[in-house]
Symmetry: C2
Subunit: 212 residues, 2 copies
Amino acid sequence: MEPTERTTLRRLPERGSHDTAAIYAVVDEALICHVGFVDTHGHPVVIPTIHTRVGDALYFHGSPASRMLRRMKDGVEVCVTVTIVDGLVLARSGFHHSMNYRSVVAFGVAEPVTDAAEQRRVFDALVDHVVPGRAEAVRPMTDKERRGTVLLRLPLTEASFKSRTGPPGDEPEDYELPIWAGVLPVRTTYGPPRPDPASAVDLPVPDHVLER
Amino acid sequence: MEPTERTTLRRLPERGSHDTAAIYAVVDEALICHVGFVDTHGHPVVIPTIHTRVGDALYFHGSPASRMLRRMKDGVEVCVTVTIVDGLVLARSGFHHSMNYRSVVAFGVAEPVTDAAEQRRVFDALVDHVVPGRAEAVRPMTDKERRGTVLLRLPLTEASFKSRTGPPGDEPEDYELPIWAGVLPVRTTYGPPRPDPASAVDLPVPDHVLER
């Protein structure tokens, strides 16, 4: 996508891009994002939330009582930041320590989704974003649940991607020092599934859960 | 700590607290946080960054060219949000899907740290926050490096903690459905260390790296 005044990368531009595929890949992999907005008193507020992408838009949902969603519905500008930490970069000096990461920063104004068919499609996508294949395994959404949930769309038209990869970059003279340096990869992993102890029926763990 | 107007928990207050120990535990465990501020055009901006806590303050550092640090140095209000995802909550309905998490939202105005001794102490703490025990293993910081790095302190006086734990909460009639429900734990894990291929010397991986 095209850079704008506020998505132009000024610092370390070689670490960034406006490549749509790179932006979508980060958004699709991350479990959560952080939404920033300015509250009615003019203060910045940052809230973690689940998101999903369908086509060229990000979607957010939740209770009509959510302060973040009410503010977004008012049409205020938001900044959505998605970050994946890939590694701890351990240099020979503290100064050159860093992290390998991929991040996306997106700006825009969200709009309510009121079409029932789009709502259903996106609510399924939200469930499948967290665990692919889960949506078709659960009890379908009722109209009451659908009408009781706020759903907002943020067009992904103004966003940038940034990343750091690779080994540390030390001072030339430090490479001779007897100090171990390298990268410690960071991964998000899933532990053994814990069945709900309140289950009335004993069921095997389904493949879509085991394969997450 | 005492709640303020903007850290009073309005939605699901049973999931939150202002307990200092709970707030510190999240801040200390998380590798990164997200800092929100209002830019010079009045737009919200959210940037991921490394942090550390020393005593009752959060510290941020980086290049003097960083837009976020320059804005923070100007004395603008910031919102710092720290989020740890603990599990995917898989209910019998999409509607009751959720995540288990722990998060902290802190507000305040940061101030520059200019005392050399405090700078050195905090720079070591930043390195040890990422990998405990690392600071004493690396080449000490030079005065040039120290003077070339911006360091800011945000007193942790206005903050709240929120979490969700435990199994899904489904509709009473849904517990009889033949749909697997439970929690899939989410963990941050570390892969095998990757030594810097540019190392001039062959060194064993130190314990502080293996034990991360």
